[in-house]
């Protein structure tokens, strides 16, 4: 995240409250169909925010995050449908499983960067996907697990609107926690890993622990998003673990602006919004998605927020209204991120 590591600016807090209230008000003004779309956006926003700890903050291009997300989904499916666990146990197990798998990914990729980290996380993700696909007796294989009961989160009513509000509340609380995490000492350390690991070592920080922590926390919150997705759909299948979802969450972060806390959320709204419109017109959505990916890389490498902040800077002329906040990204892109012994070669940022 850019700018000073202050406690939240009151204006930002006000904006966040307004956004949450507006999102919560959707069912009052829109159809059930719109609410289901909004529900997907809300849940994927949490996933994208969790992903961005590893991607935007620590500068590690993971392509295995769907495994963390899907692990949460499968713990819900297995725990509630197959094993009949009490709901609190399901929640704890889901968060723990996500965190543990994240830690495993963090340890496995400790010595890698850039494209190698991307391939290794992809491999781990595919292994988890294969497991879910093949353990048919447990997971139902390709058919997945259906009839997940979500009424526990909606105070007895099973309508989509009740669940939507529950999801908005959970995601808003989780996002606030994630923001706190990002400005904390450990969160700042993780961000510093992304900028200059050799310098961080020289200052007395253990870079390896910071990377593993990033994956662990990211894993727990990704799993939380996966749990909400399974409950919302009342269904979980290997699609929740597929690498396509990992690629999609990366697009969310890049398109919105991975250097900003809220960037990934903007990316979710733009991509899912486009998907809804395009799917109405044609069934070639994957092609459009691919095109969107290419165009983003070519024209918006810093995301929409990056382009907006540069434009404000270029056309403004006058001094930045808030010195030290939202600097134009050009300087950061043109600049080598680390020149120490362990040269950091982020492949995607």
């Amino acid at each position: 995240m850019r700018g000073d590591r202050r406690q939240p600016d009151p204006r930002l807090v006000a904006l966040a409250v307004v956004v949450v209230l507006a999102v919560a008000a959707v069912p009052f003004v829109a159809s059930t169909y719109v609410v289901t779309v909004a529900l997907r956006m809300v849940v994927l926003s949490l996933f994208a925010l969790a992903f961005n700890i590893v991607f935007g903050a620590a500068d590690m291009p993971s392509l295995g995050h769907a495994a963390l997300f899907g692990t949460g989904s499968y713990v819900v499916g297995l725990g509630m449908v197959r094993w009949d666990w009490p709901f609190p146990l399901v929640v704890v197990a889901g968060l723990t499983a996500g965190a543990l798998l994240g830690i495993v990914m963090g340890i496995a990729t400790l010595r890698t960067q850039g494209i190698y980290l991307l391939l290794l996380t992809l491999a781990i993700g595919q292994a988890v996907w294969g497991l879910a696909f093949q353990q048919v007796r447990l997971t139902g294989g390709d058919n997945g697990i259906s009839r997940i009961d979500r009424s526990v989160l909606t105070l007895g009513t099973d309508g989509v609107v009740g669940f939507y509000w529950a999801a908005v509340a959970v995601v808003a609380a989780a996002a606030a926690l994630l923001y706190w995490f990002r400005i904390s000492i450990v969160g700042t350390t993780i961000e510093a890993v992304g900028m200059s690991p050799s310098r961080l070592r020289a200052l007395g920080f253990a870079v390896g622990s910071a990377r593993i922590t990033a994956f662990g926390v990211s894993g727990a919150f990704s799993a939380l998003a996966g749990m909400l997705m399974a409950l919302g759909n009342r269904f979980v299948s290997p699609e929740n673990l597929a690498w396509q979802l990992s690629a999609e969450v990366m697009l969310f972060a890049i398109l919105g602006g991975a250097s900003w806390f809220a960037g990934p959320v903007l990316g979710v709204v733009l991509v899912i919004g486009t998907e809804v419109v395009v799917k109405d017109l044609t069934d070639r959505w994957p092609m459009v998605l691919g095109g969107l990916y290419v165009l983003t890389m070519l024209f918006l490498p810093d995301g929409v927020l990056g382009a907006l902040s540069r434009r404000r800077r270029d056309s403004g002329g006058g001094p930045d209204p808030q010195p030290g906040r939202d600097p134009g990204p050009a300087s950061d892109v043109s600049r080598g991120r680390d020149s120490g012994v362990a040269t950091n070669t982020g492949a995607t940022t």
Partner: protein, 261 residues
């Protein structure tokens, strides 16, 4: 007799077949300022990377105040009081100057590392010390500026400020004035000259005039090996040193100075 601040025994590092550093045995007493000079490719930066733990040695041992730290990772050596700067700036580009310094203070503050869930700014001790460091190095006017937006000379000053923020016992400075303007170089040289007397400093410096003015002792390295260690006045007249510098293509000022002497 107290143990030297920094001591190496037969220290070596090879990359493939190339011996970047070979059989270097140094002993730097507490409080000394030691300049390390030598032609390009002499192994000065590799030596620093070995000392700081950013590279593992192929042979030899490293002792810090008598304690063997050869097998300790870089961050542990930093916590034991060994601080360093890098030849090329690699600070935290998206953070403000003040946050860069806060992070540097927190790194060597065990209490801060234990309170890892707190926002960096809310630890009064870290914040006070960071502001003090920023003021000491004349960076107050840019405290809220993002590091990437600083002038290069200011980045180098910030780098030294951060290396000193954790109150180290040993400071390794890798070409602190390389690439900066003459004015900025003077500021940095003054900072180095004013460092506390009990701080042990090793400095790689291309500008011989600066190196000789700052150093108590000068170690000359050639092709990865230590050629000679002596006071500046002696090194200036040493025929081996003169020969070593005359034997290389890119020496600039130093050759003339050494040849004149």
């Amino acid at each position: 007799m107290t143990a030297p601040a920094v001591e190496t025994v037969g220290l070596g590092r090879s990359f493939g077949g190339v011996r970047a550093v070979h059989d270097v045995s140094l002993s730097v007493p507490v409080g000394e300022t030691r300049a390390v000079i030598g032609p390009n490719g002499a192994g000065k930066t590799t030596l620093f990377n070995l000392l700081s733990g950013h590279l593992d040695p192929s042979t030899g041992r490293i002792r810090l105040f008598g304690e063997d730290v050869t097998d300790r990772p870089a961050h542990r050596r930093s916590r034991e009081g060994l601080s360093r700067t890098f030849q090329l700036s690699n600070l935290f580009a998206d953070l403000t100057v003040l946050d860069n310094v806060r992070l540097a203070v927190a790194g060597n503050d065990p209490a801060a590392r234990r309170r890892f869930w707190q926002p960096l700014r809310t630890l009064p001790r870290v914040d006070d010390r960071a502001r003090e460091v920023v003021a000491t190095f004349g960076l107050e006017s840019v405290a809220a500026t993002v590091e990437a937006d600083l002038a290069y000379g200011q980045q180098r000053v910030l780098e030294i400020a951060m290396a000193l923020a954790g109150e180290p016992r040993v400071l390794l400075l890798d070409e602190p004035t390389a690439g900066v303007s003459r004015a900025a170089a003077e500021v940095i040289t003054a900072i180095v000259a004013d460092l506390p007397a009990d701080l042990t400093v090793l400095v790689v410096e291309h500008d011989m005039e600066v190196a000789f003015a700052l150093a108590d002792q000068v170690t000359v390295m050639v092709e990865g090996a230590e050629l000679v260690t002596a006071p500046p006045a002696v090194v200036r007249r040493d025929p081996d040193v003169i020969a070593a510098y005359l034997g290389t293509a890119e020496v600039g000022g130093p050759r003339d100075r050494a040849a004149d002497a």
